[in-house]
């Protein structure tokens, strides 16, 4: 840890603590989850980077979407994402969440995941190596440092559009909106 880092720690302790203790929700989507067990265990050991898997969304602030997203999975992803505490960061892993990948003309696969929830970073590839997760984590550190990982703020501000897109894909949603969707002026936020 250099002096520059110490200065940062005193200046913004909460942000630095967030940055170095990313808790990833252990949510399995598609085939990319096969890369996650070696990442969190002894061979690549994600704890070196402060990334640790947790069991429930209420303890997590990093969401790895590890593969293609079917319509049914999208429902679970939205519910999980909305339960996570802010600040929360999302990383799409593999080419399928980006634009559908090899499922580009599938009848039941979501093509662009960022139409439904905000994504802070993408890892391209099919499959990406486990090292790509660490590159993504380091990029995410840079983004957090520069206050650019603002997906959760974008979700809050554009919630109406996100909710409309979710309803277009899934039909009627059985859970209430997370943020107010009416046109009234918003209250004191942030």
């Amino acid at each position: 840890m250099d002096r520059n880092q110490i200065a940062k720690w005193f200046k913004e302790p909460a942000k630095m603590a967030n940055k170095y203790s990313l808790h990833a929700i252990y949510f399995c989507t598609g085939c990319g989850i096969i890369e996650v067990p070696p990442v969190i265990t002894s061979r690549w050991d994600a704890e070196r980077f402060g990334v640790i898997p947790v069991a429930t969304p209420r303890q997590a602030n990093l969401f790895l979407i590890t593969g293609y997203v079917s319509v049914k999975t999208l429902r679970a992803i939205i519910r999980t994402y909305e339960q996570m505490l802010e600040p929360k960061y999302t990383v799409g892993f593999g080419s399928c969440p980006i634009n559908g990948g090899m499922y580009w003309d599938s009848y039941n696969t979501i093509k662009h995941l960022d139409k439904y929830i905000p994504i802070d970073g993408w890892i391209a590839g099919c499959m990406p190596r486990p090292e790509a997760i660490f590159i993504a984590v380091i990029h995410l550190w840079t983004l957090i440092d520069k206050d650019m990982a603002t997906g959760y703020i974008k979700y809050r501000e554009n919630y109406k559009s996100y909710r409309r897109n979710q309803e277009m894909a899934l039909g009627e949603l059985e859970w209430p909106p997370l943020f107010p969707v009416s046109d009234e002026p918003r209250g004191n936020e942030q």
Binding site: K111, D114, E157, N165
Partner: protein, 171 residues
């Protein structure tokens, strides 16, 4: 061993074609009204494991083909071993205009999820099935999506590509 099964099948049923594909594989083609009888006969003969029930859409011939794959996990007359295990592929066709078939859950209860899946993806009705409710899909489809005349590209263009990207308000 497969010779004896072939002879037994041919002597019992009239309108079937039996062909030996490999040492341990037999293909049987039958009319759709005699399928249940053949299945019951084979189950009594020791083929008590339904490994797979699947459907194929032959759109040029205007038929759906149903494939029942049966194996003998444990036969009484020989010891269990992989080399001796027989696979029987029972095929039958049903017309595309009237895709109805009898359920086989009375003979093989494990066929229930397979029949639900085929009902959902191919639109084949299985009469007598206890619950033909949706199994995998979330959305409603006009044509069941595994039929050959279902245009996936057009469906994607009409549904998923129409959903707009979320623009940031500041920009």
């Amino acid at each position: 061993m497969n010779k004896s099964v072939k002879e037994k099948l041919e002597s019992t049923f009239k309108d079937i074609q039996v062909s030996i594909l490999e040492d341990s594989r037999i293909a049987v083609t039958a009319e759709n009204h005699s399928v249940l009888t053949i299945l019951r006969f084979l189950k009594d003969d020791g083929f008590n494991h339904l490994a797979l029930l699947s459907a194929v859409d032959w759109i040029e011939d205007n038929v759906f083909e149903l494939c029942f794959i049966l194996t003998s996990y444990q036969r009484d007359d020989d010891e269990y071993s992989d080399s001796q295990r027989l696979h029987i592929i029972l095929k039958t066709t049903i017309p595309r205009e009237k895709p109805d078939f009898q359920t086989i859950t009375a003979i093989f209860p494990i066929a229930e999820p397979y029949e639900r899946e085929i009902h959902e993806l191919f639109g084949i009705k299985f009469e007598g099935h206890p619950r033909l409710t949706p199994l995998l899909l979330e959305r409603e489809y006009e044509i069941p999506p595994f039929r050959k005349d279902f245009d996936t590209r057009k469906y994607v263009k009409d549904v998923f590509d129409k959903i707009p990207f979320v623009e940031d308000k500041d920009e």
